[in-house]
């Protein structure tokens, strides 16, 4: 492999890193970056101000060896760098069926990234913490849902960074100047047009994961605008929309006129151009997409799981209210009921605890998992075959990653189903 490139204009700083003047770790990171800049057809590299590192997830020894190679070369990040979920809930993994070898290797991978001067957020929703980028800032973010949120809701500028490259950007403070880093590539080229959606439905939390699920395959990886939304969505709803669209598709930027910062109007989102494709979506399409997220719609459940992306403080508030409403009566797991598991970050858990929002969950016998999620750590025993969730991302990936059947539902349906140990439906505004 060549160290530099004939086509990318590298700065004196880039060339100094390539030459090893800043040490072996930046040299390796810049060699990979320069090669990727060439592959992407970049003319130059640009400075980034922050990074979010998805490479933290343990999926096998290769990722661990890469992390430990960088760490052994003395790698340090040059910009504030938050960490995505790991492969382990370090303090509670023994409560689950996580093999000790997995735990040991995941923990090693965590220590390798810790050693680089990173911020140990261990969350896939870093945008709901204190390390949130600002509008217009150039950043290098990994984690597909976080990329969609950073670009769309905040208006920060990031490409979809894959594992292994995010950390190279963080170590060098540089990124190829391509794609969504550049203003001209941020205009919507496709429009999803909502038609005849009742306000009550558009205000419901479970509208957004379903909308995102439809958006993914339509948008492919082009910036897309959503027109005709009759309400202003909340932050957690936009988060669910992005996570769903980045699972069923490769959506890294969506615009909602009047809501997201780069789209005061639909014409602004499109830059005054005609869209290359328009998709009309009404109630029938939304109902069909909602059904598509479910592979198991009746009978017993093994687990109800919430929190992909990681549960926010606001979501804990909603869950606490639902649990308080009906009291702790339930069918217990040992009586044929099911587990209720919520995945979140350490920081949000601590805030929710101080606000008293975890008490109803503890009283119910629900369980918390931090730093990771049910998809990223092998915590579910082979007997967990039937899941229910309000997350389109969990619903999308569980069949492939866990081999489980899945039911998608609203938070209220999930809570009631957890109480009874079987799928309970209450279609509400979907009727």
């Amino acid at each position: 492999m060549s160290g530099g490139s004939d086509t990318v204009r590298l700065s004196p700083f880039d060339r100094a890193l390539l030459a090893g003047e800043e040490g072996e770790a930046p040299k390796l990171a810049m060699r990979i970056l320069a090669r990727m800049a060439e592959v992407r057809g970049a003319e130059s590299m640009l400075d980034i101000e922050a990074a979010h590192i998805d490479s933290t997830i343990y999926v096998g020894d290769a990722g661990l060896e890469f992390a430990e190679r960088l760490a052994s070369l003395g790698a340090r990040v040059r910009v504030p760098s938050t960490l995505n979920v790991s492969g382990l809930d370090e303090f509670h993994w023994q409560e689950w069926s996580v093999p000790p070898e997995w735990a040991e290797k995941s923990a090693r991978q965590m220590r390798a990234y810790d050693s680089m001067g990173t911020i140990p957020t261990w969350t896939c929703a870093p945008y709901q913490g204190r390390q949130t980028p600002r509008f217009g800032q150039q950043v290098a973010w990994g984690e597909s849902n976080a990329v969609a949120f950073a670009n769309s809701v905040i208006g920060a500028r990031t490409e979809r960074y894959p594992d292994l490259l995010d950390i190279c950007c963080a170590i060098t403070g540089r990124a190829p100047a391509v794609g969504l880093h550049l203003d001209e590539n941020r205009l919507a080229t496709r429009v999803l047009r909502l038609r005849g959606i009742p306000e009550e439905l558009a205000a419901a939390d479970d509208f957004y994961p379903v909308l995102g699920h439809l958006l993914g395959p339509f948008a492919e990886d082009d910036p897309v605008a959503i027109a005709g939304l009759p309400v202003i969505p909340e932050e957690d709803q936009l988060k669910a929309l992005g996570a769903a669209a980045a699972s069923s598709g490769a959506v890294a930027l969506f615009h909602i006129p009047g809501v997201t910062p780069e789209a005061p109007t639909l014409a602004d989102a499109l830059g005054g151009r005609e869209p290359v494709a328009v998709l009309d979506v009404g109630l029938p399409e939304m109902r069909a997409a909602r059904r598509e997220l479910t592979t198991h719609d009746e009978g017993a459940l093994d687990m109800v799981v919430l929190g992909s992306p990681h549960f926010s403080f606001g979501e804990f508030g909603k869950l606490a209210a639902l649990l308080r409403e009906r009291g702790p009566e339930r069918t217990l797991p040992e009586e044929g009921g099911c587990d209720l598991v919520v995945t979140t970050s350490r920081a949000v858990r601590d805030l929710a605890e101080r606000a008293g929002l975890l008490e109803p969950l503890h009283a119910f016998g629900g369980r918390l998992m931090v730093d990771t999620c049910v998809l990223a750590t092998p915590m579910t025993p082979g007997t967990t075959r039937r899941l229910m969730t309000n997350s389109a991302k969990y619903a999308w990936y569980s069949p492939g990653l866990l081999g489980s059947a899945v039911a998608f539902g609203s938070l209220a349906e999930c809570v009631e189903s957890a109480r009874r140990g079987r799928v309970v439906r209450d279609p509400g505004p979907w009727d």
């Binding site: 060699r31 995010d166 990653l401």
Partner: protein, 138 residues
């Protein structure tokens, strides 16, 4: 002889049975690095063994972890022999670049035009050689 040229991202000599799909694939939740099988239940190639094959996909989708999963497959030698995409897919390209860096090996990775991508649909096997894709019958 059917032969077409593409943009060679990672050169190499490789041949394999063609696994062709027009849907993108996330390797995280979609590719089992232990067995080299495609496991994404949403994908038409679910259940197929891609290890050693010529995997023809328009692109990846979704998860950032696709790269780490392909790198793990390269480490375990359960990766496809060749990857053919429609246009450049940076996620697959990165895994191949880091695979060379870490393990000194990588699938051959070639990007083709939209028209050429469609032509590959009925190729039973292909060979990557001399910066070209060559159809192999039987």
């Amino acid at each position: 002889m059917d032969r077409l040229r593409g943009q060679v991202i990672v050169a190499g000599t490789a041949s394999g049975a063609v696994l062709y799909a027009t849907q993108p694939l996330s390797f995280w939740g979609g590719y089992d690095a232990a067995s080299g099988r495609i496991t994404d239940t949403h994908h038409p190639l679910a259940g197929e063994t891609a290890a050693g094959a010529a995997l023809v996909l328009p692109a990846t989708r979704g998860s950032s972890t696709t790269t780490a999963v392909l790198l793990e497959a390269i480490r375990r030698e359960t990766a496809p022999a060749a990857l053919i995409t429609r246009g450049v897919d940076a996620f697959l390209a990165l895994a191949c670049v880091v695979g060379q860096e870490m393990y000194g090996r990588s699938p051959a990775l070639v990007c083709v035009s939209e028209d050429d991508f469609r032509r590959l649909a009925d190729w039973p096997r292909l060979e990557v050689a001399d910066r070209a894709l060559i159809r192999v019958d039987g």
